[in-house]
Amino acid sequence: MTDTALAATGLRKSFGDTVALDGLDLAVPKGAFFGLLGPNGAGKSTFMSLVTGFQDADDGQLLLFGEVLDPADTAQKLRIGFAPQHIALYKELSAEANLVLFGRLYGLSGRGLSKRVDAVLETARLTDRRGDRVKTFSGGMMRRLNIAAALLHEPELLLCDEPTVGVDPQSRNAIFETLLELKARGMTVIYSTHYMEEAERLCDRVAIIDHGRILAEGDIDGLLDGLPAVNAVRVRGSELEEATVAALSQFGEVTAGERVHTLAPGEGFRLSRFHAWAEGEGLEPRDVIVERPTLEHLFLQLTGRELRE
């Protein structure tokens, strides 16, 4: 038995001249809530479409629970649930009719099917709207149903491709709760997003992907440990004396703003020394704001700041 739910080595996939995956290596531990973070066009969806067997890789290997992934293998497909990036539901059919169809396609029938349909409707908090056509649903409701449809067969691995795009905060919270519940029950979740705060809230492991490669992978704390402990220091006060500003620059690069001076800590920055200095200068403690590094900083540092698509 392996402890890895999904392992990718050297995955390559091109569409014509576009290289979508460029030798991607990834290992998702069993039971992890795994964030796949990347800007638009990074290759997140392409990776998922290789896992679900929609596309064939040009090169590389995928292992699902230790077995070589085979798109023709029905048993393997039953271990994976997939909520696509675009809402893939028959909008002219009711929520229930959609779920019944997908349940049948997952091989369910009879009472087993109706029990599962009831269960996932409950999970998606759509029980009272089960008979309504999907086209009458809000964006958030569709999103929830889109995920629910991937849960019918109780998969061991759930792939969610940007499941909160175009969703109101309430629905987003409902989705988070659902996913965390699933994780608590032991399901492995791969969650792609470009919202860093989502990843920070949900994921215990993340991989940052860009241009079809993994740029960093690990648990969030570990990844942030690699960054300087302080990301920036802001000093409030519009009338800082010139001497103070000059002295400030001994700690790093200073950017002057109208009300705030921002200090990018330089080499060998020590927060204790800075605080001691600030006290000596007579700065109020509430005027000094220390910014800790976030996933977003790591993300921007790794993927750059230029605009994508």
Partner: protein, 462 residues
């Protein structure tokens, strides 16, 4: 198989949930056949003529009875509406003159006029001259009227020529000799018939008078007058038969004799196929819609194969095509008296095979094109081309040999022939199986194979 059935069930659910689609599915064939049926063949009681009657103006300027006979026989034609003059609002008829009848065409009141001119007889020898004035803005109409006028003239040729024959006799035998001949002839007739009630004068012995006597007023000499099966009931009838027997065409139509609406019966298979092709190509284009919605991404992440999706589409589109084609045929039965019911089982089978082949055609198109617009555009082009070259619009025999040969490669041709075989010749399963039905099956198999292959390697499911 379970996956195919589940997907097929989804198709029907989607279809049945769309009331407008259901209505259109069955209304469109109804409306189409109503329109096409009215263009060709009308209500079914006329025997394959052009639906509306063609108006022809007619004038006998010669005053000779032969000229009237020609016009009367034109009036007897079902397909013609013969005018003798301009009718005013209060219903009075102003007879045509040689000038006014021509003016009527100039004024576009009618497109055809027939005039038996004053000097319709040739000056020398034997012959007649009839004037046919026309504005041939419609090729087929012109042909039809031309043919009918020629027919009328030929049928009335003896009457038309009678004055000339008499003149010719007087001129060649001399007046005195002619009188002697006519006296002798009258005497001979009176003696030989030997009935006090039958007495003829020598001046009834002109050729024209003889014809009048023989033909009477109400015996029409036309195509069907060769009713000579009975015994000649006397010399009078015997004489009449001299002319009648001059030309008798015995018609022996092997097929389609009892067909109530021949024109439409011949054409309807072509309409059905054209309609099927358009309908199935449109529904094949719906594959793109599902792709756009990202549906295949989800379906293929399930234990569903590409072929499952294809089969469900194929079965659904074919079944819908069959329902629509049958609607078209059944509508034609109610609206235009097409005999659908006595061939119904074989008709259903042909509909199934044709719908299957057309569905497969649509799927190949969708598989080869990259957008629904491409599919529709190329589809329309191919469908119109195929139907035109397969005898759906004009008989195949009218086309250049190359076109005929190309036409025979299209599935439309084989479909049309199969429908015609069933509805026109009344052929059954065994007679139609080879080659027509077999070719339709072969088309389905080959086209589906191509579609499946293209869907496997092409972009539809990527």
């Amino acid at each position: 198989m379970k996956a195919v059935l589940a997907l097929l069930g989804k198709e029907y659910r989607l279809f049945l949930g769309d009331k407008a689609a259901i209505l259109l599915t069955f209304l469109v064939p109804f409306v189409l056949i109503y329109i096409f049926g009215n263009i060709f063949g009308g209500s079914g009681d006329d025997n394959g003529g052009i639906g509306a009657r063609i108006t022809v103006a007619a004038l006998n300027a010669s005053g000779e009875p032969g000229g009237d006979a020609v016009i009367e026989s034109l009036e007897a034609e079902d397909g013609l509406n013969v005018l003798r003059g301009f009718s005013s609002e209060d219903g009075t008829l102003t007879p045509f003159t040689t000038d006014s009848i021509r003016q009527g065409i100039v004024d576009r009141q009618y497109n055809f006029a027939v005039v038996v001119p004053e000097d319709y007889l040739a000056d020398e020898g034997i012959g007649v001259r009839i004037e046919f004035i026309s504005n041939p803005r419609n090729e087929i109409e012109s042909q039809v009227v031309n043919g009918l006028v020629q027919k009328a003239v030929f049928m009335k040729l003896p009457q038309l020529l009678a004055p000339q024959v008499d003149d010719w006799q007087e001129a060649n035998m001399g007046l005195a000799q002619t009188a002697v001949f006519r006296e002798g002839l009258a005497e001979l007739l009176n003696e030989s018939i030997d009935d006090p009630a039958f007495q003829v004068d020598p001046d009834e012995m002109t050729f024209g008078a003889l014809l009048d006597g023989i033909l009477g007023d109400d015996v029409a000499v036309d195509g069907e007058s060769g009713d000579n099966s009975g015994e000649s009931a006397g010399d009078e009838a015997g004489l009449a038969s001299v002319f009648d027997n001059l030309l008798t065409i015995r018609e022996d139509q092997v097929y389609g004799k009892e067909v109530s609406n021949p024109q439409l019966t011949r054409m309807i298979g072509g309409y059905a196929l054209m309609f099927l092709l358009f309908a199935t190509t449109a529904s094949a284009a719906s594959l793109f819609e599902e792709r756009r919605e990202g549906m295949f991404l989800r379906l293929l992440s399930m234990p569903v194969k590409r072929t499952h999706i294809l089969w469900s589409k194929y079965l659904f589109n074919t079944s819908l095509g069959v329902a629509q084609a049958l609607t078209l045929f059944i509508a034609s039965s109610f609206l235009f008296d097409i005999d659908v019911w006595s061939h119904f089982p074989i008709l259903v089978l042909i509909c199934v095979l044709a719908a299957s082949a057309c569905t497969a055609f649509g799927m190949v198109l969708a598989a080869l094109c990259s957008t629904p617009q491409q599919t529709q555009g190329i589809g329309t082009l191919l469908i119109l081309g195929m139907t035109a070259m397969s005898g759906a619009w004009v008989p195949l025999q009218w086309m250049p040999p190359l076109m005929q040969a190309i036409g025979k490669f299209s599935l439309v041709y084989w479909g049309i022939e199969a429908f015609r075989g069933a509805l026109w010749e009344g052929l059954g399963l065994l007679q139609l199986a080879w080659p027509w039905l077999a070719v339709l099956v072969a088309y389905s198999v080959v086209l589906l194979g191509i579609a499946a292959w293209r869907f496997r390697v092409g972009g539809m499911f990527r």
